[in-house]
């Protein structure tokens, strides 16, 4: 099995690498591009920790092969904030509302919530819970996370007002 050349845009930067066809996008981001913010939990699409934006849409990066992402535009947790060292509104809200404990699942939650709120800026509690069902957290009990999503809608509204 020969390695394949891959060129993707990650967080606005053109990145190249070579990898086996069986390498998932999650492993490629972490092992080849050293972007270890994307976390790998279950590796079969259940936990959501590896969620990234692929051409603007939230996807499980463990269920996309790196070769399939060749030519795509990827946003990882490292590219969610406005600039290095500054938090985006969803990150800020998770911090304020204690939407995390150990933090392992948090990158996936932040990417999923960011994508969801871009499409649905004023969700109900039920819509938030349904949306969050694609990400698993084993620490918090989700109350803080739901509160963080509500808080994020306020922060986004303030920022755009």
């Amino acid at each position: 099995m020969t390695d394949q050349a891959i060129a993707i845009t990650v967080n606005g930067e053109r990145r190249k690498g070579r990898t086996e066809a069986r390498t998932t996008l999650a492993d490629f981001l972490r092992d080849e591009l050293a972007l270890t913010g994307t976390h790998v939990g279950c590796e079969h699409g259940v936990c959501g920790a590896c969620t990234v934006l692929l051409d603007g849409e939230a996807v499980r990066s463990c269920l996309v092969l790196a070769v399939q992402a060749d030519g795509a535009d990827i946003t990882t947790i490292e590219g969610i904030g406005p600039e290095p060292g500054r938090l985006g509104p969803v990150q800020q809200a998770f911090m304020e509302c204690h939407g995390l404990q150990c933090g392992f699942c948090t990158p996936g939650f932040v990417v999923s919530v960011t994508s969801f709120l871009a499409e649905q800026p004023a969700p109900t509690d039920d819509e938030i819970r349904e949306m969050l069902s694609g990400n698993i957290c084993r620490c918090t009990g989700y109350q803080g996370i739901v509160a963080a999503v509500h808080r994020a809608t306020e922060l986004i509204e303030e920022a755009t007002a």
Partner: protein, 289 residues
């Protein structure tokens, strides 16, 4: 857990896809959205020396309405079903079924054709296709053919497709006059595979009686199944005289769902009967509006 090694092919034409499938036979598998195949590869439940990626093939994506038919390209993402106003208007059942498939991150990647060709008996789209009488456009090395949904699903994860064939598009009849449809399922958590579910598509005649009834069940057998006995009992009836609980029981009369970790067979049958009553009532209500 990581997939085992394989050779990756990313052709641009359907002809190249079917040629690769014909060349490599059992050692080859088409890869659509990958939301079922990639987990199975990662868990090493299955493995193929060759994968043929359909995502770069021209002409497999998109939605088109012509005459009374809505044609959906096989590689169209499931998310499109819930976003495209044309689909909600032409075949509202598809827009209602889509949010029940996995999570939005899965639907962003998962495809309509992939879900149908994967043929998981607990999944939503096969049951929708069966209830609506969808037609599958199929391409192989020797040309194209059509397969009716009623002939397509042959067993758990098994279809009438030959190993060197792929689904290229699926055609759904556009909703008719005085017709209503509904889908409902019971799952332990949102996005999980359903313990059982049901789909109904009902039409009324000018006098307000049921002129056509289609009910399909999922999660109760090795394929989605039509509840023909219950359908026959509905045709000709006035909605006010229909006992939906009785229709639900009738729908499950000739099914024997099996036990698994989530539910026993009898539990699953009771759930399916209950859910059937719900979808029949909703579809009738919409048809009468």
């Amino acid at each position: 857990m990581k997939p085992g090694p394989f050779e990756y092919h990313a052709p641009h034409t359907v002809a190249d896809v079917t040629a690769l499938l014909a060349e490599h036979g059992d050692e080859c598998k088409p890869l659509a959205g990958g939301q079922s195949l990639v987990p199975m590869l990662a868990l090493r439940l299955t493995g193929f020396p060759h994968l043929v990626d359909l995502n770069r093939v021209d002409g497999l994506s998109g939605v088109e309405r012509s005459n009374g038919t809505l044609v959906i390209g096989a590689i169209t993402r499931q998310r499109v079903l819930e976003r495209d106003p044309q689909i909600a208007e032409a075949v509202p059942l598809l827009a209602r079924a889509a949010p029940l498939i996995g999570h939005f991150q899965i639907r962003n990647r998962g495809t309509v054709g992939g879900s149908l060709a994967h043929a998981d008996p607990a999944s939503e789209l096969p049951a929708v296709a069966l209830a609506l009488g969808a037609t599958f456009d199929v391409a192989g090395p020797n040309g194209t053919r059509s397969i009716a949904a009623a002939d397509f699903f042959t067993g758990t994860w098994s279809t009438a497709l030959e190993p060197d064939e792929i689904v290229t598009a699926v055609s759904f009849p556009v909703r008719g006059e005085r017709t209503g449809s509904a889908i409902h399922e019971m799952a332990r958590r949102h996005g999980d595979f359903a313990i059982a579910g049901a789909v109904a598509n009902m039409s009324l005649d000018a006098a307000g009686r049921v002129s056509a009834a289609a009910i399909s069940l999922f999660g109760v057998a090795s394929t989605p199944v039509r509840a023909t006995g219950a359908e026959a009992a509905l045709v000709g009836a006035a909605p006010a005289d229909i006992n939906t609980l009785e229709i639900g029981r009738l729908a499950l009369a000739d099914q024997e769902p099996t036990d698994d970790i989530h539910a026993t067979g009898p539990q699953r049958a009771r759930i399916a009967a209950h859910v059937t009553g719900i979808v029949v009532a909703r579809a009738l209500e919409e048809a009468g509006r």
